[in-house]
């Protein structure tokens, strides 16, 4: 797309879980690039494979009963198939991850200061005093009041929002080039969510990081991402710039997802356009489009043949659909074709 080499290049990434009931293709062949300083949002419902995708990019999948295929290149290093020793060299310095649950991603028995120090001493080789100094700077950076005292606090002494700030401080300790944020604000109150998202935004531009923001909440990605990837049943069904996905989406699933989200701007008792049915069982995926059973535009072909991602004209905008929605200029016109 552009001359500069992408920071992250994911090609045909497929993660399959081998379970007693059969093979579950949690991520079924995902390809995308991420440029430096770019933020991409990955949205989808539960089971769409967005978290597994993020964990596969990080190289966090367990070695047994999981098959990761394809390629993930991060700054020229291959992550798929890399040994743990190799991965450890990348973690924290090149790529760091923030997990959903701030309650469980910290060790409850270790003071938060020590948990930040650990990364600094291990990865940057700082001595005890320097690590402490830097850790307190980091706590200050992520907006924790009186960082000197908080350095000695245990996770249980902090609120959920504060704990998520600590998790962010740990992730940022070695100024990674890429930050993977998996539902960073789910479970937090709206006012705290706004604080954390603004913090991530500001840190991202200050530290020149790229970010992958994984979320189920379209509101979170709407104003904070450059591009959006919409996932359904382990595959990318649509991707484009944030404006393209919101305003010019071609894939019926994207439309249905937007239409079923209640909006603060709508009058009360506005009828929601719910999507009938529920996401497919990954063990029994059809050979056609996974969304076809719930899609109001589905035809014979949709059930039998899987659509591949194709361009909609704009080089950044791809979608996988046999019967794409018309572009919005035609969308306002009535189906009968009474164009002005």
């Amino acid at each position: 797309m552009s001359d500069s080499a992408p920071l992250l290049s994911v090609k045909n990434l497929a993660t399959t879980f081998e379970t007693a009931r059969g093979e579950v293709p949690a991520v079924g062949g995902v390809t995308f690039d991420l440029l430096a300083d770019e933020t991409v949002g990955i949205v989808g419902e539960s089971g769409s494979g967005k978290t597994v995708l993020a964990r596969s990019i990080m190289g966090l999948q367990p070695r047994t009963n999981v098959r990761v295929e394809g390629s993930v290149q991060l700054g020229g290093t291959e992550i798929v198939g890399a040994s743990e020793v190799e991965l450890r060299k990348l973690w924290a310095v090149d790529v760091a991850m923030i997990f959903q649950d701030p309650m469980t991603s910290l060790n409850p028995l270790i003071r938060i200061g020590k948990q930040i120090d650990e990364t600094l001493r291990l990865r940057l080789g700082l001595n005890k005093a320097d690590a402490k100094k830097r850790a307190i700077e980091l706590l200050d950076l992520v907006g924790i009041p009186s960082p000197n005292e908080r350095y000695m606090a245990y996770p249980a002494q902090l609120s959920g929002g504060m704990r998520q700030r600590v998790v962010i401080a740990i992730a940022l300790a070695c100024s990674p080039k890429l930050l993977l944020a998996d539902e960073p604000t789910t479970g937090l109150d709206v006012t705290i969510q706004a604080q954390i998202l603004n913090l991530l935004d500001q840190l991202k531009s200050d530290l020149h990081m790229s970010m992958v923001l994984v979320t189920h909440d379209l509101g979170v990605v709407a104003t904070r991402t450059d591009r959006i990837i919409v996932m359904y049943a382990g595959r990318i069904v649509e991707t484009g710039t944030t404006k393209e996905v919101f305003a010019q989406h071609r894939m019926p699933y994207t439309e249905a997802l937007l239409a079923s989200t209640p909006k603060v701007s709508d009058a009360s008792h506005t009828r929601l356009n719910a999507i009938p049915g529920r996401p497919p069982d990954l063990l029994q995926l059809s050979k056609g489009c996974s969304f076809a059973p719930r899609c109001q535009y589905a035809t014979e072909r949709c059930h039998n043949e899987r659509p591949e991602l194709e361009s909609s004209g704009s080089p950044s905008h791809l979608f996988a659909c046999w019967n794409p929605l018309p572009l919005p200029t035609n969308r306002t016109a009535s189906p009968a074709g009474s164009e002005a």
């Binding site: 419902e45 539960s46 609120s159 959920g160 929002g161 504060m162 109150d189 709206v190 006012t191 705290i192 969510q193 706004a194 604080q195 998202l197 603004n198 189920h216 909440d217 379209l218 509101g219 979170v220 709407a222 104003t223 944030t242 404006k243 919101f246 305003a247 249905a256 997802l257 937007l258 079923s260 989200t261 209640p262 909006k263 603060v264 701007s265 709508d266 009058a267 009360s268 008792h269 506005t270 009828r271 929601l272 356009n273 719910a274 999507i275 009938p276 529920r278 996401p279």
Partner: protein
């Protein structure tokens, strides 16, 4: 508006929890009514006492003081059988659909449980009522009636919970974060279902949730709580368009619209709610409020009515409605 019948009247409700020598006032004196046939949304951040209010209404937690009236009967002083009977008129639906159903019981038996408890019907009649309810919530009783609860997804479990709650033909449903654990596409289905059932069964809803867009979608009126107190109550559209309490305004400002052209909230609320163990004097929001003055620290603002149905507890409300309009 004044001639509407009040189904629930809550007067100065307090709920205190004692823990390790400390007293937490989870609900610190709230007063509001729920009218018959309406949906009242109750919003606020975690720890504001919205769930405790719902639970106190059901007497799952005991109110410390204050009164709760259900159709003119004092619910807060009822005991034993009378209380059990009163609870058939109010049913609660909880947040986690999976854990609110017994995984080892069959769907039909789960839905029939209230009927069996009260022996209100038996045999074919009981089966008919149960099948009818399952049908209403979109679960085919012929196919799924004999399956176990553990075989269902979250959205389906929530449908079964709704069917069970309707078994005794209650007047009111208390929904505590009932759609927060569901995906948006399923959430929309459940919200639509709730609207349909409300009309069909003539239900009154108390809808407790933290998601402002969801609450606006389903509610006729909305009440906002902060740290155990009621900040503002009013008609949903009016309250969202012209919030009078600074906290309501911040809360709405922090809600994210799924629209890339939406303005980023420029002034977001800083800090975190203070501990309910040691709430601030006067107005409880004053420690985070940009408009707070000496008066807010010394004097607790009382609920005052602005325009019909719109009341706010603030010394310096944001909008002054013109009386003539």
């Amino acid at each position: 508006m004044p001639d509407r019948t009040k189904l629930i009247e809550i007067q100065d409700l307090h709920v205190n929890f004692k823990k390790g020598g400390h007293t937490v006032s989870a609900v610190a004196g709230i007063t509001f009514d729920v009218y018959e046939g309406e949906t009242l949304g109750l919003v606020g951040e975690s720890g504001c006492g919205k769930s405790t209010t719902g639970r106190a209404l059901m007497r799952i937690v005991e109110p410390t003081s204050g009164s709760i009236m259900l159709s003119g009967e004092s619910l807060s002083t009822m005991k034993g059988r009378a209380l059990r009977k009163a609870r058939t008129k109010m049913q609660m639906i909880f947040q986690d659909p999976i854990s609110s159903l017994n995984p080892r019981r069959r769907v039909r038996d789960i839905v029939a449980e209230p009927i069996d408890c009260w022996q209100s019907s038996k045999g074919d009649e009981r089966t008919k009522i149960v099948d009818d309810l399952l049908h209403k919530v979109g679960i085919d009783p012929q196919v799924y009636g004999n399956r176990f609860a553990r075989q269902f997804s979250g959205g389906q479990c929530q449908r079964i919970s709704i069917a069970r709650s309707l078994a005794m033909r209650p007047k009111m449903l208390i929904c505590d974060e009932m759609v927060s654990a569901l995906d948006v596409s399923i959430q929309a289905q459940i919200l639509n279902l709730l609207e349909d059932l409300k009309t069909e069964y003539g239900l009154t809803l108390l809808f407790i949730a933290h998601d402002l867009a969801v609450v606006k979608n389903i509610s006729d009126r909305v009440a906002v709580m902060y740290l155990g107190k009621l900040c503002e109550i009013g008609p949903a559209d009016l309250l969202y368009a012209e919030p009078a309490h600074p906290y309501t305004k911040f809360l709405l400002g922090a809600a994210l619209a799924a629209d890339p052209n939406a303005a980023r909230p420029d002034d977001i609320l800083g800090g975190e709610p203070p501990s309910p163990l040691n709430p601030p004097s006067g107005c409880r929001f004053r420690t985070r409020c940009p408009h707070a003055t000496e008066k807010c620290a010394n004097e607790e603002p009382q609920m005052q009515t602005f325009s019909p149905g719109h009341a706010v507890a603030c010394h310096y409300p944001l909008v002054i409605h013109s009386k003539s309009a």
